[in-house]
């Protein structure tokens, strides 16, 4: 379940823009070129104003994009610098994913982008245009589901990290269908998330139970 490392391959088939790339890129003189790894994104960015200060391209203004969120097409006007998380929470009212560290350290903002768990706080919204975003609001909640397993195992206290854990867990199970993970698999899979209340013990059991239910359901 570790959200994909955006520092990894540049030839990702799906959007590779993260705020980290953006920050790194914008410190280079050729920032514009670094950013425009896909023509599609470059087109969106073209709608925003571009100016140059000390040799660094600065995008400003706003641009309309289409996002597919939980199966629904949504139009939204963002800034090139807007993160996927802030776009979901502040502009689209999708507040399930939480902003906690805002720096890809804690996982509370995890969403599923084209099937992969990603940290939405360090993913630029502009790079997600026309891609499939799923948040935990869209997950099943009845018996056998991940949210249900978290509830039954008291795998939450204040609950603010919980959306991230639930989403990471869901993404892992979808990627590893029919598997029954060991406790160590679960710990490794959830190591990209942090809980301050200390609900890990319940979380482990919830993940194990959800995996079991999914295996049973799939078999």
């Amino acid at each position: 379940m570790p959200p994909e490392d955006h520092k990894a391959p540049a030839e990702l088939p799906r959007p590779g823009h993260s705020r980290r790339d953006f920050l790194r890129g914008s410190s280079l003189a050729a920032a514009g070129a670094v950013m425009a790894t896909s023509a599609e994104t470059a087109m969106h960015e073209a709608r925003a104003d571009v100016s140059e200060t000390d040799g660094v391209a600065i995008y400003s203004g706003t641009c309309p994009i289409e996002l597919k969120v939980n199966g629904e097409a949504m139009s939204v006007t963002i800034e090139p610098r807007s993160t996927l998380l802030d776009t979901l929470r502040n502009r689209l009212g999708v507040t399930g994913p939480k902003r906690v560290c805002d720096r890809a350290s804690c996982g509370a903002c995890t969403v599923i982008l084209d099937g992969d768990a990603v940290y939405s706080c360090t993913t630029l919204a502009i790079s997600c245009a026309d891609h499939e975003v799923r948040t935990l609001e869209s997950f099943e909640t009845d018996e056998g589901s991940v949210p249900h397993a978290f509830h039954q195992n008291d795998a939450l206290m204040c609950g603010y990290c919980t959306p991230g854990f639930v989403t990471a867990c869901q993404a892992w199970l979808e990627k590893n269908p029919g598997q029954e993970p060991t406790l160590d698999d679960i710990k490794q899979g959830l190591d990209g998330n942090i809980c301050r209340c200390g609900t890990y013990i319940g979380v482990f059991q919830a993940a194990l139970d959800a995996a079991k239910a999914m295996k049973k359901g799939g078999a």
Binding site: E79, S82, D86, R89, N90, R91, G93, T95, G96, P97, K98, R99, V100, C101, D102, R103, S105, C106, A108, T135, L136, E137, F139, T141, V146, P147, H148, F150, H151, Q152, D154, A155, L156, M157, C158, G159, Y160, C161, T162, P163, V166, I186, K187, Q188, G189, L190, D191, G192, N193, I194, C195, R196, C197, G198, T199, Y200, I201, G202, V203, F204
Partner: protein
């Protein structure tokens, strides 16, 4: 005499999944930071980039000129002195958060940077800048018991030691903040991430000079407080000012950096001490100089001696002020510090005397340590400790423990060690809180109180109590809390929420039941005394069953609405617990790996075994963080914090969590004590037990917490 807790409960004590659990686990629960009222503006806070500076000039005109910026509010004005990195200067409200942050950046400030002192050493150095008119230190009242000098001369053995633990922060996952909406000129709705709904109401009412009745504070759920969220704070008031100025609702939550720097901390603690015992290993004398810093504020006091009886002691404590954010209460304020210093020294003394540290602890418990019981006889806590220690030593396998000398001689770089520590806490209920119980003619039942659920499960246990009394399921009860317009609710501090709110919930449900009987008896051709509660039914003369909803329909159009208060016998205070740790240390890398933790805890009557266990697990894990990872690092040269984030400020992740064995100290005698509260005690002893296990593994004490590779390797290098 008011009723006592039922002897053979159906629901109380059972593990009932929390009522808001599925909403939280499916992203549907709306936290204060998720509120998006119509017309909302987003606000951001500008904070001090310096550890110590004076604002010479401040110009907000450029910020105000940015399209989309709707309001700027100065928290600090020209001439103000900023006393730490992160102190708030201004707040900007705008159409988007991005623009609000642009607004903050566009505020032009001319600073006169002043010399700083951000560490205790800097604050105590010759020529240190004077941070307050009273200076940089403030001595507490000297503490003296018996004749420690004479006792030290007569002691069989003594040790001199120095121990310390750094400043840590609460790291609430939902940062501090609130959404404020003015409803007209004089009414206000506030969605606040707080552990004190009623307190925020009075603070906002006071700040804006409106009647408290016209301020509604809502906290249906919130993302963690741990002692740091008792007030509206300057930024909460700033949100109110901006909402007033712009005529629109304003969302204002701190960012992660500000959360670390300005929203509270657990003060550091250090001690230079002498501890002595008689030949049987009973502690006889303690002489200590202690200190700590809670930043620019005071608040670094902690208890010492701790848990054990030391008949002769002298202690002088000094609070040191530095250019750092203010201390705030943090889960069992002071106790983890006192515990790890006392328990480290005791362990070192036992080692020097060649005594099993367990024996020294048993020998040093007070003969009588009386704690009250709700409906039972007062108890001797020392007896509770003895029984708990027996359970804990068995669960951890204490008999596998070897002495430090033996462990140090073990082959290879990986050393295994065992450690233990004891703790205590008060808890208990306050007598001035209330809960309303409403039974509607359609059979629905609602509880109302201003109190809040900060993740403890308070909402669920109150419903469990009402369901117990009314013969219903917990899920049948609408447990409506976190609203300041409801009857007064306890602030969540000191492990007092559940013990303060459970008695009025119980009494409200009992009174509502009795009133229901009175009101419907005639319609059931019976006397009120003929009626009793069965599962989902009202029983007439113990035989005829009337389904709950049918019975409630007899109320006609008027619901039952009663408010219950506190009564004696339902709550007590003064709990004890002990924890044990089994770990290994890699002496080449300094990495500590936990194998197992055992926690034995008494908290009187346990209302919900599931949420109770979660709190104890959570306490242990927070203690584990304190013992192994946490430290807010200040840079002496720049005066800035180096790790106000969640990457370099370390917290345990999934793979850092060992096997944790929770043992509820739960028996008939404990249940008779009544409800006490468990939020704080289980976080106290963990770090101390970890430190002792590390010392046991290495054969040498690591005197500075946390047990990081650096601190471990430094101690090994000196050994």
């Amino acid at each position: 005499m008011a009723a006592l807790w039922p002897d053979n409960p159906r629901l109380i004590g059972e593990g009932v999944p929390r009522l808001d659990g599925l909403a939280k686990a499916s992203g549907r629960a709306k936290y204060p930071s998720d509120e998006r009222p119509d017309g909302l503006l987003f606000a951001a806070v500008l904070h001090s980039p310096h550890a110590h500076a004076k604002i010479v000039k401040i110009d907000t005109s450029k910020a105000e000129a940015i399209p989309g910026v709707k309001g700027v509010h100065l928290i600090a004005n020209e001439g103000a002195t900023l006393r730490y990195h992160g102190e708030e200067i201004a707040a900007v409200a705008a159409e988007s958060e991005e623009i609000a942050r642009d607004g903050c950046r566009a505020i032009a400030i001319e600073f006169e940077v002043l010399p700083h002192a951000v560490t205790e050493a800097q604050a105590l150095a010759d020529g240190a800048p004077r941070l307050t008119p009273r200076g940089n230190t403030q001595a507490g009242r000297a503490q003296e018991d018996g004749d420690p000098d004479a006792a030290l001369k007569e002691a069989a053995a003594s040790i001199e030691g120095e121990y310390s633990v750094p400043v840590i922060t609460h790291v609430c996952l939902e940062t501090h903040g609130q959404v404020v909406r003015w409803d007209g000129d004089a009414k206000m709705t506030v969605w606040s991430s707080t552990q004190n709904v009623d307190g925020v109401e009075s603070e906002m009412a006071g700040a804006f000079n409106v009647p408290a009745t016209d301020v509604t504070v809502l906290t249906p759920v919130m993302g963690g407080g741990f002692g740091s969220k008792f007030g509206a704070d300057t930024w909460g008031v700033a949100a109110g000012e901006l909402a007033k100025k712009t005529g629109r609702p304003v969302w204002l939550f701190l960012d992660r950096v500000q959360e670390h720097l300005t929203a509270g901390n657990r003060p550091s603690a250090s001690a230079k001490l002498t501890l002595a015992a008689d030949k049987d290993g009973k502690l006889s004398a303690l002489i200590a100089e202690t200190a700590g810093t809670g930043g620019i504020s005071r608040g670094a006091a902690f208890p010492l001696p701790y848990v054990y009886e030391v008949p002769n002691s002298r202690r002088q404590h000094t609070d040191i002020r530095v250019n750092g954010g203010n201390a705030r209460a943090m889960r069992a304020p002071g106790h983890p510090q006192g515990c790890l210093i006392m328990e480290s020294a005791l362990d070192d003394l036992a080692e020097k005397m060649g005594i099993d540290p367990l024996q020294m602890r048993l020998a040093s418990l007070a003969e009588q340590d009386t704690v009250p019981s709700g409906s039972g006889e007062p108890l001797n806590r020392s007896e509770i400790y003895r029984e708990q220690i027996k359970l804990g030593t068995e669960a951890i396998g204490w008999n596998q423990r070897k002495s430090r000398a033996e462990n140090a001689k073990a082959e290879g770089p990986i050393k295994r060690g065992f450690g233990m520590a004891l703790h205590q806490w008060g808890g208990g209920g306050r007598d001035d809180k209330q809960v309303t119980c409403i039974i509607n003619p359609d059979g629905s039942v609602e509880l109302r109180s201003a109190t809040q659920d900060i993740g403890t499960g308070c909402r669920t246990v109150l419903a469990q109590i009402a369901a117990e009394v009314l013969g219903l399921k917990t899920t049948d009860i609408n447990s409506n809390i976190g609203n300041s317009q409801f009857p007064p609710g306890q602030a969540s501090g000191g492990s007092t929420t559940t013990p303060s709110m459970a008695p009025p919930a119980y009494n409200a449900a009992l009174e509502a039941r009795d009133l229901l009987f009175k009101r419907i008896a005639g319609a059931l051709d019976a006397e009120p005394g003929d009626l009793s509660i069965g599962e989902g039914v009202i029983l007439v003369k113990g035989e005829r069953e009337v389904p709950w909803k049918d019975a409630c329909r007899k109320l006609g159009t008027m619901p039952i609405n009663v408010t219950g208060s506190f009564s004696e016998g339902l709550t007590a205070q003064g709990v004890g617990g002990c924890q044990f740790v089994d770990l290994t240390v890699d002496t080449e890398t300094g990495v500590v790996k936990l194998n197992k933790i055992v926690a034995v805890q008494d908290t009187g009557l346990i209302l919900n075994m599931m949420t109770w266990k979660s709190q104890v697990y959570g306490g242990v894990i927070m203690g584990l963080n304190y013992g192994l990872f946490e430290e807010l690092v200040m840079d002496p040269s720049t005066g800035l914090s180096l790790n106000p984030d969640m990457e370099l400020y370390k917290l345990a992740g999934a793979s850092d969590i060992p096997e944790i064995d929770i043992i509820p100290f739960d028996n008939e005698q404990m249940r008779k004590r009544g409800v006490i509260g468990v939020g704080e005690p289980p976080t106290i002893a963990t770090a101390a037990a970890i430190g002792n296990a590390v010392a046991n593994a290495l054969g040498t004490r690591v005197p500075h917490f946390p047990m990081t590779p650096m601190n471990v390797l430094n101690a090994l290098a000196k050994a």
